[in-house]
């Protein structure tokens, strides 16, 4: 009887790693949920990481939010002017910013700034054996490095997102005020009059998911970095690209779900 050769790959050498990668990512995420509710919680490290994610991103988020508010208002005005409906600007901008732009802009900025930072930091720790050093010192590196960072991004990014929305609305007000006289209070009142609880809820929920994604992808890519310094760069780069890609997919899904709830 002829001996059949052992099949080394299910599909091919290039395709197989994609499937094993998905399985590895699933295992990594499952491990996070197993570890996150177990002691010790390393609260001090969670606070440190929240500071890194939150306070250190505030300036960038503020500037970006402010510019988004101005630009979006500038772009929307001509269309509304055609219908003589410029008084609807605050409501339109309010809905657009709270429902979509605030969380999305914050998530994309954080994917670039925080996600790459986490990917590079953990990648560097991995290739210089610092993660192994924790392991041999009887410290659970997954819990100390991954769980704390993912919790920090998940909790901090919704706060940043709300802050970004407020600043973007202020940017919008500045633009509106430059064209016509209006008070800040009446602008905010008008903007919030059309925003429902569901809008705020979906905005915060979205940001929670984005925060989790950014932390998880950054940690996963960094924690599994290989090939020395080249691997660190690759981890940082992939952390940003994959996080952004996932954020857009999540945006589509969450918008569908929110709309379904809204019109149910």
């Amino acid at each position: 009887m002829a001996i059949l050769p052992i099949k080394k790959f299910v599909f091919s050498k290039r395709i197989d790693p994609y499937f094993t990668g998905v399985y590895e990512a699933y295992k990594f995420t499952a491990l996070f949920f197993r570890e996150v509710f177990k002691r010790p919680f390393h609260l001090r490290e969670v606070v440190n990481q929240s500071f890194e994610v939150g306070i250190k991103s505030l300036a960038l988020i503020s500037l970006t939010g402010f510019i988004v508010g101005i630009v979006f208002t500038k772009q929307s005005r001509p269309s509304l002017e055609d219908f003589g409906a410029t008084s609807w600007l605050p409501s339109l901008i309010g809905i657009a910013i709270v429902r979509a732009l605030g969380p999305l802009v914050t998530a994309l900025i954080c994917a670039g700034k925080v996600g790459s930072g986490i990917g590079a930091e953990l990648g560097s720790m991995k290739v210089t054996e610092q993660i192994d050093a924790m392991e041999v010192s009887a410290i659970n590196p997954f819990k100390y490095l991954v769980v704390t960072r993912v919790v920090a991004t998940t909790l901090t990014i919704p706060v940043l997102s709300l802050f970004c929305s407020f600043v973007a609305l202020y940017g919008s007000y500045v633009n509106v005020h430059s064209e016509e006289t209006s008070s800040l209070v009446s602008f905010y009142q008008s903007a919030f009059s059309t925003i429902s609880f569901l809008d705020i809820f979906s905005s915060v929920s979205k940001s929670l998911v984005y925060g989790f994604t950014i932390g998880m992808v950054g940690c996963y890519k960094g924690y599994n970095a290989t090939q020395g310094t080249r691997g660190v760069g690759k981890a940082a780069n992939q952390a940003v690209v994959l996080a952004m890609f996932l954020i857009f997919i999540e945006e589509v899904v969450i918008v569908q779900v929110a709309n379904w709830i809204r019109y149910f």
Partner: protein
């Protein structure tokens, strides 16, 4: 450089390895390792690069899992342990990395205090400070307490790496290439430190090296690891006097180097 005088208890094995195999993909690295480390003993494992020396000690501490064979450390089968049991065992083992693996975002003090504060609960700041100073004194770098790892020389980083393992008062020390990348004078200082640690902390040690001077001056026994197997284990003179062509070839290569 003076070899330390210490008592070896041959009735008590702290590490016992039998029939150990390990491969990475198609590459078979360890091909049936049998090895015993006795209490109070230093064994230097010599071999060319890529022969699996570091893999061996990473299996001993549970960083890698063996394909086959048993690894018994301080009476426990390493690959059979649950995470918590393995962590408890690891507290009794010190591991000094080839690259030192200091946490580069932490100062020397924080590097040394970190394993202690993470593993010993309710320790006062003063107690941590005293423990840090004690190990820094042992490695002769008390004046570097507030420096960052990036400000230290290669030899100093190695010393701090050893100090970080000593802070948990290990019973076994595993050194991965302690003198690699160092000049002869700094190498000699590290060799003295390994012997000093052994006397001061009563450790049993496995020293992975390809440096004959380091092996001769630290090891009570020398084990030659070539092509995934121990070709010869014995005192330096016994191993040096062997007729085995591969072992002789290894020694000749090192002398030429």
């Amino acid at each position: 450089m003076e070899k330390s005088r210490h008592i070896i208890i041959r009735e008590e094995a702290v590490i016992s390895i039998q029939g150990l195999y390990k491969s990475f993909g198609d590459l078979q690295v360890l091909k049936g390792i049998d090895f015993t480390l006795f209490k109070g003993e230093n064994v230097a494992v010599l071999g060319k690069s890529g022969t699996g020396k570091s893999v061996l000690i990473k299996i001993i501490i549970g960083l890698l899992k063996p394909d086959r064979g048993t690894v018994n450390v301080l009476g426990q089968e390493v690959d059979q342990l649950e995470r918590r049991e393995l962590d408890t065992l690891r507290l009794r083992i010190g591991f000094s990395f080839q690259s030192s693996a200091l946490y580069d975002s932490m100062s020397v003090y924080q590097n040394l205090a970190f394993p202690l504060t993470m593993n010993v609960k309710n320790l006062s700041q003063a107690a941590v400070g005293m423990a840090v100073e004690e190990v820094l004194e042992a490695v002769g770098l008390k004046n570097k307490i507030h420096e960052m790892p990036s400000d230290l020389s290669g030899g100093q980083r190695k010393r701090i790496g050893i100090a970080r393992t000593l802070i948990l008062k290990p019973e076994i020390m595993l050194y991965d290439e302690p003198t690699s990348g160092l000049d002869p004078i700094t190498s000699a200082e590290i060799i003295d430190l390994i012997n000093k640690v052994q006397q001061q902390y009563n450790t049993s040690s496995v020293i992975i090296t390809h440096d004959l001077t380091c092996a001769k001056n630290t090891g009570d026994r020398i084990a030659i690891l070539l092509e995934g197997r121990f070709l010869k284990i014995g005192t330096f003179d016994e191993v040096f006097a062997t007729d085995d062509k591969q072992v002789k070839g290894f020694f000749n290569y090192n002398f030429i180097q």
